[in-house]
């Protein structure tokens, strides 16, 4: 609960202040208007350009992300031209052979001679 005397004091103060604000001359008001326009222009110049830049960057990044996701999901998994080939390769690997013998060139010569021979091995 405010004191009535305080309320009257506040009212008189507001009246005096309002009167002063309303009584500002034209030159002062003109300077205020110019200052206001400069402030509004300053708020629009830098920040809006910054915002626009960030939003464009964000939009581009989002679009790139979407495109990448679509590409990754849409692309079929890598497939072998022939599934059987893979099995035969595995069989070769699993052959129980002497690797030192395979690496020896004379072994291939002997193998060729044995194949060309009469078959009396």
């Amino acid at each position: 609960m405010k004191d009535p005397e305080d309320q009257e004091l506040r009212r008189r103060a507001r009246t005096a202040l309002d009167r002063r604000a309303a009584g500002l001359d034209a030159a002062t008001l003109s300077r205020l208007t110019q200052a206001r326009h400069r402030a509004v222009a300053a708020s629009q110049a830098a920040p809006s350009t910054r915002w626009l830049g960030w939003r464009l960057i964000g939009s581009t990044a989002a679009l790139a992300g979407i495109a990448l996701t679509v590409l990754l999901i849409g692309e079929p998994p890598p497939q072998l031209p022939d599934g059987g080939l893979m099995v035969s390769d595995l069989e070769l690997i699993e052959v129980d052979a002497d690797l030192e013998l395979v690496a020896e060139p004379e072994f291939y010569d002997w193998l060729a001679e044995a194949a060309d021979g009469p078959g009396d091995a």
Binding site: L9, A13, A16, G23, D25, T28, L32, A39, A42, S48
Partner: protein
């Protein structure tokens, strides 16, 4: 492409709206800000510089904030500028009061023609002079308040900010706002007891 177009339209239209809102807000507070700075500095020119700096700083830093926060933020910027002005050694200027200094030097501070013109309501010149004098005495008393008391008084009584908004603008606690306001009212009562209407 459509997404980018929609984004651009949104950005441009929202900037346009915020520009108008900012213009409206500043137009609504600039006169009171000027009188507040004038009471604090005792000089209309200094007050204009302070208000111009405050509007620029506010627009650059806080225009993107929600509009509900604009009033306390603007007054915080304004009060900081006024305090900076005082810190720069303007105590001497305060001693001369805001009414005595500019009357002869600055034509811009001459009496407003509207106030000098005959009152359509029929008030007599004597009544107007008495009213004007009472107003001047009131303004003089407010100008003579200590800095923090005047801040609390102006923000609460004239700007109509609530206690929390005033505390935000002054950068202090709500309790301090109440204390400063109470002391300001007491000081004004004492000063104005000879000028009761």
């Amino acid at each position: 492409m459509t997404f980018v177009k929609i984004t651009l339209v949104y950005v441009i239209s929202s900037d346009d709206t915020s520009e108008k809102s900012l213009e409206r807000f500043l137009a609504g507070v600039e006169r009171r800000a000027l009188v507040t700075a004038e009471l604090a500095t005792g000089s209309l020119d200094e007050a204009l510089d302070i208000v111009q700096d405050s509007m620029l700083a506010f627009a650059r830093r806080y225009a993107g904030k929600p509009q509900g926060q604009w009033a306390p933020l603007f007054h915080r910027v304004l009060q900081n500028r006024i305090r900076d002005w005082h810190r720069r050694g303007a105590v001497q200027r305060r001693l001369f009061g805001w009414l005595s200094a500019p009357s002869n030097d600055a034509p811009a501070d001459s009496p407003d023609p509207i106030q000098v013109a005959p009152d359509p309501a029929g008030h007599s010149p004597e009544a107007l002079v008495a009213q004007q004098h009472a107003g001047d005495v009131m303004l003089d008393a407010i100008a003579a308040l200590p800095l923090r008391q005047r801040e609390a008084f102006m923000l609460r009584v004239w700007e109509g900010l609530d206690v929390s908004g005033t505390a935000q603008a002054m950068g202090c606690s709500s309790g301090s706002v109440k204390t400063h306001l109470s002391r300001a009212l007491a000081a004004l009562r004492t000063r104005l007891q000879d000028y009761r209407e």
